[in-house]
Amino acid sequence: MSPKKPFFWVLVAVIAVFLVPVLTNNVSLRESLLLAAIYIILTSNLNLMIGFTGYVNFGNIVFFGLGGYIGLYLVTAGGLPLVAAAALAGAAVGAIALVLGLGILRLRGAYFALATIGIVEAIQAFVANFEPWGGATGLYLSFQAYQALGGPREALWTVYLLLVAVMGLSLFLCYAVKNSRFGLALFAIREDEDTAAVLGVRTPLYKATAYSLSGILPAMAGALFFFKQGVIQPEQAFDLTLSTEAIVMLMLGGQGTVTGAALGAFLYEQFRGILLTSTVFSSFQLVIAGALLLVTVLFMPGGLMGWLHRRWPRLRKVLE
């Protein structure tokens, strides 16, 4: 990608914003932006399935949770450094998703969506009974693990920077797919899968590849996030609520657009922060998320970015 493309500067600007807490040494801002980065990673990769391919994946959190488990297991039992563990977790989850995708992507529409929920439940039940991964009590990281990164304080900063890097990669992946031959095939599948096949798109393989691709970076994010937490348990790793929230963020920002997915995730995180700290709304946070989804789908089906694009068509070229 060259500096001539507007997207290059969008990416630079986003990463610059995420480097502010590093420069100002602001820990509370870092924690808020860390969550925003994770949301952007989840939403951008979900966009590959929902926005580009037209398949609603309710179980996108499976990639995040499995990545977390594999990553933490490699660090605790294998003694691998964090970066290697995260990369391996990404590769492993990508491979699992490819095989899984070739099977479940034979289903379409609501049946596919239901199957993805089934996968979350099945994998959660499996992990909760899988002794090497600690069963229902989960995996705990020993304090020693942070020493490799120069102590707990430094480790938190390292994890944050790595997550920002994965976020940058997610945005770039979305952009690269959108402007590729592969992406064109995915759009054709989204519009009409049978026609896409008649036009020569090898639909089963392309769908499974998109599904697999949408799992790699969330898995790496999962490994990094649960390393930071120091513990991973089945309920937190495979949280269907977060899975659904990612869909709300995507619809809010604008499915099918790269910047929209990121914007939706960022705004949702900020909004969620305000709600959780207010005395009135803290227990109604999910109710409001649901209402937000309804309003978006009813009045702004293209999301924020879709609305902006309609208002100022020239923005299409700048904010893809």
Binding site: R181, F187, A196, L199, G200
Partner: protein, 256 residues
């Protein structure tokens, strides 16, 4: 030399209904074959079987000597056989150019994105859709969508093109323009099988005509032979004197 397309004993049964029943025919290189018959005769089903949209219950399909029976649609296109749909199926939320680029990217030759865009642009010139290239496919008129179907199929650079009622619903000027496109294609060496109800167009364009009724082939031959065939007149054409009118002097864009 063997035929370009060789269909032998092709069948499709839906429960007890024989939608396509032991149909055999061949298409030579550069030939235009008309496929006619009353509604429900099994013409579109026949296309679906040949292009792999549905698996046949029996019979074989050979393209340039290769057995393509039961291949999935994307493999069939790559082997050089493209089609249009009777009910137009544009990729609505994509531009006209992108619709065609998909066809060019994944056609008989595997092209990169920029090369495919160029091919798509050339084909859009050919079917006179170049002015609409940046519009969304959903915004085209029905005539435009029909032309887009043809353009998209052509982008795959096929050896053989199956056209499913592309002239239906077009006005005389549009029919004339489309017929010119087909003539240009034939000159370029592309063979065509066309399902069409517009008899004057079929009779004038086709080298040979195959007639289906209730899933069976009831006649095959030169246009004037078929039009005078007693069985065809009874099953489909209705008027015994129609042959003279249909196979009369060629006039582009004329309606029956």
């Amino acid at each position: 030399m063997s035929a370009l397309l060789e269909v032998t004993g092709l069948c499709k049964h839906f429960g007890g209904l024989r939608a396509v029943d032991e149909v055999s025919f061949t298409v030579e290189e550069g030939e235009i074959l008309g496929l006619i018959g009353p509604n429900g005769a099994g013409k579109s089903t026949l296309f679906n079987l040949i292009t792999g949209v549905m698996p046949p219950s029996g019979g074989r399909v050979r393209l340039a000597g290769t057995d393509i029976t039961g291949w999935p649609p994307y493999r069939v296109v790559r082997s050089g056989l493209a089609r249009t749909h009777q009910i137009v199926r544009p990729l609505n939320d994509m531009t006209v150019l992108d619709n065609c680029t998909v066809g060019a990217c994944f056609g008989s030759e595997t092209l990169g994105l920029s090369q495919a865009r160029r091919v798509a642009g050339e084909i859009l010139e050919l079917v006179a859709l170049a002015d609409c290239r940046h519009r969304l496919a959903s915004s085209l008129t029905i005539a435009g969508k029909k032309r887009l179907e043809v353009a998209r199929a052509l982008c795959a650079r096929p050896k053989l093109l199956l056209l499913d009622e592309v002239l239906a619903g077009l006005n005389p000027t549009e029919v004339g323009r489309m017929i010119q496109v087909f003539r240009a294609l034939r000159k370029g060496g592309i063979a065509i099988v066309m399902i069409e109800h517009l008899m004057q167009a079929v009779m004038n364009l086709s080298d040979r005509v195959v007639v289906l009724n209730f899933g069976r082939k009831i006649a095959e031959g030169r246009p004037h032979e078929v039009a005078t065939d007693a069985g065809v007149v009874e099953a489909y054409l209705g008027d015994p004197h129609i042959a003279a009118r249909l196979t009369g002097p060629v006039s582009d864009g004329a309606t029956p």
